[in-house]
Amino acid sequence: MMKGNVLEIRDLHVEFGPKDRAIQVLNGVSFDIPQGGAVGLVGESGSGKSVTSLATMRLIPSPPGRVTKGTITFNGTDLLALPLGKMPDIRGRDIAMIFQEPMSSLNPVMKIGDQIGEAIMLHENIDRRARRAKVIEMLKLVGIPNPEGRLDSYPHQFSGGMRQRVMIAMALLCRPKLLIADEPTTALDVTIQAQVLELMKDIRARLGTAILLISHDLGVVADLCDSVVVMYAGHVVEIGATEEIFDTPRHPYTRGLLASIPRLHGGEERLFQIPGSVPVPGTIKKGCPFYSRCGMRIDRCRTEMPPMFDFDGSQRAACWVTAAEAHAHVKEPAQ
């Protein structure tokens, strides 16, 4: 085990549905998050990003879903080997999570102060007054004006951006080592998006919280993250430092994603669009999952799933074609 990683996911497999006709949703996902690092998990919807994050929290609804293989090591402990009854001690205290829909992610009949305070009450023996002070401090940190006056408000009295700030405050109250943010800005207006991203950057700098940012928006990821994990149809297809990925994307899918970002100084030509759509989970049995949509495919891609090739620097990608072009090889795993 390498030192300095807060989270290491190895060969994670998740399937959904009845055992006899289960659908593979994750097919061997592996990546690391360094202490205090910020990793972006990128891919179209249906690629398995959210399932990966829910698996980390062990919140995959079961039935129908289950983890069939792999390890998720958090600070040296394999979470998947823990009894489920231990997870509530870790959720919220060590790993916190915020969700895509700030509108529906807060309990509509519970006061904001109580909801945020609940996060610390569940993990620490702390009296009402101290709890209140901590909640106010955290609401200040996330930039809610007049926090004392808002404790007794209900979620419906907050705007979407304010609610996401409340969610962030709630998530950070116990100073977790890892914050999983599942599309935290997708449901927000563009200006509010920028504010929330700014807030997350600020918090990372001040509290040293590691962040796993899940997003389909490469721009958001580039803004916040040191490294990027690109997922496609339940596979990790490319990993690397953010600049590497943006400068020299090695996987055709990543190239497609980058080409479809609108650019300020772009010409008149039409925005690039990856043809087709993400395959329905479970329909691809062999070969590269991107085969049907890939503009660079060769025959080998149809039958053989490429391994993760090591490119220059920290970059790795699963593509026969670009690996051959760049003379990349599969490095033996360390240790």
């Binding site: 929290m57 919140l59 509530p88 001690d89 870790i90 959720r91 919220g92 205290r93 916190a96 999570m97 969700f99 829909e101 529906s104 992610s105 807060l106 309990n107 509509p108 009949v109 519970m110 609940e118 996060a119 569940l122 993990h123 209900y154 419906h156 969610m167 709630m170 998530a171």
Partner: protein, 311 residues
């Protein structure tokens, strides 16, 4: 908040008027002559005329309408044709029996039904869920008067554990007389509330904010009760209102089965004896109960759902 209650109360006035108008229409304008109904087909024209004069039925319709409304507001429902006692006295004597039966059965129903529903939801599609489903299917199907008769035959007639009829004298005796009738209605309420609780709770437990609660590190009990059931209270409030109304209408048959005093028994006897004034009084009482229970439910909503604007 107080202002809101007051406004809701004022809002209820047109409803009350409309209900009273419908009662009036039902009693006076629908086919059927109350005089003939009361005196029978063989009454002489003189008898009929005397009856109409006594009941104020010879006045123009609009005047009858205002007399009717005025009577209701001054709580003057006239006198019974059978025993000449003021209808108000009869109502006041019978009302407590009906209220205690309705409240007790709803209370039993909630105490049994909500925990059963929670149990079923927590063990969805497993043995407890199936058991609750069978219970609620039976509870939905069995008529209250039949269940009441079965309980009466078993526990009063054969085992002698409970009295056979009456409403009881004094507090302890009243409660004693109340148990079987209340259980009869409660069984059916519990079936309804159990199923409603299960459905609502399952629906709520699938919401995003419940996932947030799990993510915070809440344990199952806290998630189910503090977040799940608390939110399921919204549909349950509606269910409680419906239950109370159903218990109220069910009380009519149950009072008959257990031969208890009560508004239902009063009304049914009055219908059998064609006691026009008592019928009218009983109908008004029931109608006002319905309006009142609906009003109370509106008020409870404000308490359980902070999103309802109180201004």
């Amino acid at each position: 908040m107080a202002g809101y209650f007051l406004r809701r109360l004022l809002d209820a006035i047109p409803t009350v008027l409309l209900v009273l108008t419908l009662v009036f229409i039902a009693m006076r304008i629908l086919p059927g002559d109350p005089a003939i109904a009361a005196l029978g087909d063989f009454a002489t024209p003189e008898q009929l005329a005397a009856f109409r004069a006594k009941m104020g039925l010879d006045a123009p319709l609009w005047q009858q309408y205002f007399n009717f409304l005025w009577g209701v507001f001054t709580l003057d429902f006239g006198r019974s044709l059978m025993n000449n006692r003021p209808v108000l006295d009869l109502i006041l004597y019978n009302l407590p029996f009906t209220i205690e039966l309705t409240l007790m059965s709803v209370m039993f129903g909630v105490l049994a039904g909500v925990p059963l529903g929670v149990l079923a939801a927590r063990h969805r599609n497993k043995a407890p869920d199936n058991a609750v489903r069978v219970f609620s299917l039976i509870g939905y199907a069995i008529p209250d008067f039949y269940l009441g008769a079965l309980l009466l035959i078993t526990f009063s007639l054969n085992l002698g554990w409970f009295p056979i009829n009456g409403g009881g004298e004094g507090f302890a005796d009243r409660i004693y007389h109340l148990i079987l009738p209340a259980l009869t209605l409660a069984f059916i309420k519990a079936a309804f509330l159990g199923r409603l609780t299960r459905t609502s709770l399952l629906e709520v437990l699938g919401r995003d904010y419940v996932r947030t609660a799990w993510a915070k590190g809440a344990r199952e009990n806290r998630v189910v009760y503090r977040h799940g059931l608390r939110n399921a209270l919204l549909p349950l409030t509606t269910g409680l209102g419906l239950s109370t109304l159903a218990a109220l209408s069910g009380s009519v048959a149950v009072e008959l089965v257990f031969n208890r005093p009560g508004i239902g028994k009063l009304l049914i006897s009055a219908i059998a004896e064609r006691d026009y004034a008592v019928i009218q009084g009983g109908v008004v009482v029931f109608a006002m109960f319905v309006v009142l229970i609906n009003l109370l439910m509106d008020l409870v909503y404000v308490i359980v759902d902070p999103r309802i604007q109180v201004k």
